[in-house]
């Protein structure tokens, strides 16, 4: 395979406005979209703003939208496109734009702070935590998250409805609630913090209509909807809508 000239359309601008700008740029075998953006920076648009770090799909910095689909630029191979097609690259469209491909993702950091952290189990020193692998398996799937916020960007609850941002934590942080609620040593319940209830009442779990776009775009392949959001909805339903479970809990109070 040889190199070829590809058509690129890249969004350029800031909060005062901007537009898609056309470029023709060289592509070589084995390259990814981020390589091409770097080549543009080096040869044609030296002031093009782009955020990146690892170029290995692990830092979550290079999130953008490529042909309308939220993806990591460093993990999107040029070989998935035909040589003829024009490739459109825009910043994430759910967050305020800073400049060119860089957006202000502080919404996500604010939401991260809203989730109360791990509550240490009483009477166990920090170095003495012991747990069975089967008990942490579920939480560990969610620890693969690289915080690229592609799921947050895609979720229509906030992408299409700015006004929902205060009420909705987004898939990544509802998943964080699920991670802690499933954690074998998290002692939130004992300390009076009901994570199932706060998921619904404070983090907006009910806004999610389980349409699975978060799962579709997650570059880590985390089954966000099936393994975090739906189980969390079921846990919330336990408390509020299921008298059988409620009765069962009254009859035998077991430490689960």
């Amino acid at each position: 395979m040889s190199s070829y000239q590809a058509g690129f359309r890249v969004w350029r601008g800031d909060q005062d406005g901007g537009e898609l700008e056309d470029f023709t740029v060289e592509v070589n075998e084995g390259e990814v979209v981020l390589d091409i953006i770097h080549r543009l920076q080096a040869t044609q648009a030296s002031d093009l703003a782009v955020r990146w770090n690892c170029k290995a799909g692990k830092c979550g910095s290079c999130s953008a939208e490529i042909n309308g689909r939220p993806r990591l630029m460093c993990m999107t191979r040029m070989s998935v496109f035909t040589r003829e097609e024009t490739i459109t690259v825009t910043p994430l469209r759910a967050f305020p734009v800073v400049r060119d491909l860089v957006t202000d993702v502080s919404f996500n950091y604010a939401k991260a702070r809203d989730v109360p952290s791990f509550v240490p189990p009483p009477g166990v020193a920090a170095g003495d935590y012991r747990m069975r692998q089967v008990d942490v398996d579920r939480s560990q799937e969610f620890r693969k998250c690289i915080e690229c916020f592609l799921c947050q960007d895609t979720c229509h609850v906030v992408r299409d409805h700015e006004e929902n941002k205060p009420a909705f934590a987004g898939p990544r942080f509802l998943m964080r609630v699920a991670e802690l609620d499933m954690h074998p040593l998290d002692a939130a319940a004992e300390s009076g913090l009901d994570r199932k209830k706060t998921a619904q009442e404070e983090h907006g779990l009910g806004y999610c209509n389980i349409t699975k776009c978060c799962t579709e775009v997650c570059p880590e392949g985390i089954k966000i909807t099936d393994n975090a959001l739906i189980p969390l909805k079921e846990r919330a339903a336990d408390r509020k809508y299921d008298p059988l479970v409620w009765l069962g809990n009254k009859i035998r109070r077991r430490g689960e």
Binding site: G68, R93, P96, V157, D226, R235, E256
Partner: protein
Amino acid sequence: MATGTEPPPTHSGVHGATRATIGARHLRTDRWWLSPALTAGGLLAFVLYSTWRAFANADYYAAPYVSPFYSPCLSENCAPMRGGPNWEIIGGWWGLSPALLILIFPLGFRLTCYYYRKAYYRGFWASPPACAVAEPHKKYTGETRFPLILQNLHRYFFYAALLVAGILTYDTVLTFRDEQYAWGHMGLGTVVFLVNIVLIWAYTLSCHSCRHIVGGRLKHFSRHPVRYRLWGWVSKLNARHMQLAWASLISVGLADFYVYLVASGAFDDPRFF
């Protein structure tokens, strides 16, 4: 349907003041509309077919086969089915098709199913039509309010669906009789019923509420080895929930259609023995 003709709301969402100014409501170049269109078409076809069959009040019994749409029969105005599911619980005042009484349960189960919710929210309500394609609605409250908050009742329909699956299993056992109710026979209909009941059980047991109830709600799997194992099995099925939802929807429709063909005399049930 997700045709994308509605004008985008300009005040909010991807056209909000702080977002990158891009006129298009999406920039996807793939055939993103195909999947919601197929889903909506498939669901619509089933709704039309089952509405016709449920209101027909005819051709639902041809010994030994009873249509899954009419089982169990809860009113007196049913065809008598020897040894079959004639359970006249509600008595003789019901004058409409008996299917309407029982179909509430499978209908409620599928309507509140997490997979079908995704399917019709996307396919019919375009909320969202596809990922990163702006939805046409001005406001969105998801499942936080009435009536959609009732989706949380899914697990009751799951309990009911277990009963219905049990009854359909019984109906399937009865298909090992012949027209004269003698045991030890098998026809093509028996095969149709067997396939259907396996798919119905697989769909029912792969339910997310089932996964939660058998083990998902536990915090410590290691203290409940049996439930952990069950959870593992249900999780495997659950990963195929979408496929099972479609397969069982088609099979239940086909089982009904088979009974219709035999009962209306359009087709003779071939007997193997």
